[in-house]
Symmetry: C2
Subunit: 196 residues, 2 copies
DNA sequence: AGACTCACTTGTCAAATGACAAGAAATCAT
DNA sequence: ATGATTTCTTGTCATTTGACAAGTGAGTCT
């Protein structure tokens, strides 16, 4: 198993020692998701806690009008699962789909819970991940309130440049809360802002 | 101790039995926060996990320009603390302030951790609360992307009518991501939408 | 009472963004 | 390859929202 990246990841919070990380990683099974394949479909229960090793994914919901709204992007080194569906065992409102071919490692809800039960340090790790996701959402919310569309785009470009390279414009636009034509204009503008 | 509401709350996820709920509630101490008093100041570590029994509170941050941005409202029956600061033991970026006189029950981080350690059912309860908060933020984010300011205001009015009665207009406006004059116009408009 | 502050409203104008539609460019299926 | 589909860009115009400023009214302090 070439799960070195997962083992590193488990140690990243400093609460899990190398040997324990190796043991925990042993409970994960490998998974690959082909480009455009769905990792999770709305209506299903999110049951895989998936460490994404290589590739990019996105999550999206539908607004009342039926349009797709991208709610998250994921790159290598992140864990992909729908929090509410996974922990509450209820159908997901969101879809998760691979933007590129993806590879990684997963465990099921049941296995995760077993590990949480038997390993306090892994439980702490899981909480830390949840808290981190929560904080990330909060800061995105703050950006949505205080920044202009252009600023939000530039922030995404800076903080997540790979995403911009792999996601289609309309997904990025709905993630930023703007229309695709507006984003197209923002892109055109930021290049020529000095010219004309 | 008249902590019946807290005891009920602990049982609300169905994972904690009445007797256990009573014992856990016994670890909480009572707290009152006077109107306009700060429950938490930016720069401090959030160290109280506070079950708000009666009253209303809000959380707010400052944007780069220095203006207050309200990030959350809390009413009776909710738990008030800054997730990231509390669990990561880092200074809070947010302030939390009482909108009205408040009463409730709290435990410190250390005590909470002790309970998490000794009582699996309370640990599950804590996770459930975190997951609920996470899901709430996600749906607020979705509303911010897909709904107009008027729709967001009407949703708040419907889902949290008490808040609107106790928070000043400008706090509500920044929570909704609009200026106070826009909110004032929205309010004026929704009354007269049938008239001229 | 009188002067102050604070919360809210309203007017005017500008800026940001959306709606809709047409066209160019890239991608895909057969 | 070719036609179909999707993706992205661009034009025109409408709508939403913001910026700024003035005004009203309610409460507060001395």
């Amino acid at each position: 198993m070439a799960s070195e990246k997962l083992i590193q990841f488990l140690q990243s919070t400093g609460r899990i020692a190398p040997q324990q990380a190796r043991e925990i990683a042993g409970s994960f099974a490998s998974l690959r998701v082909g480009k455009n394949d769905f990792f999770l479909r709305a209506g299903k229960i999110s049951d895989e806690y998936f460490f994404l090793d290589t590739g990019f994914m996105r999550a999206f919901a539908h607004n009342p009008a039926g349009d797709e709204v991208t709610t998250a992007f994921y790159g290598g080194g992140q864990v992909v699962f729908e929090v509410s569906s996974f922990f509450n065992r209820i159908p997901s409102q969101e879809n998760m789909q691979a933007l590129t071919d993806c590879t990684g490692w997963f465990i099921t809800f049941q296995e995760l819970n077993g590990l949480f039960h038997s390993r306090e340090e892994f439980r702490e790790f899981g909480r830390s991940l949840l808290v981190k996701g929560y904080a990330g959402l909060k800061s995105r919310m703050l950006a949505m309130i205080t920044e202009s569309a252009t600023e939000r785009y530039e922030r995404l470009l800076k903080e997540n440049p790979e995403v911009v390279q792999h996601a289609p414009l309309k997904s990025i636009a709905s993630y930023l809360g703007i229309t695709d034509s507006s984003l197209s204009r923002i892109r055109a503008g930021s290049k020529n802002s000095a010219l004309k």
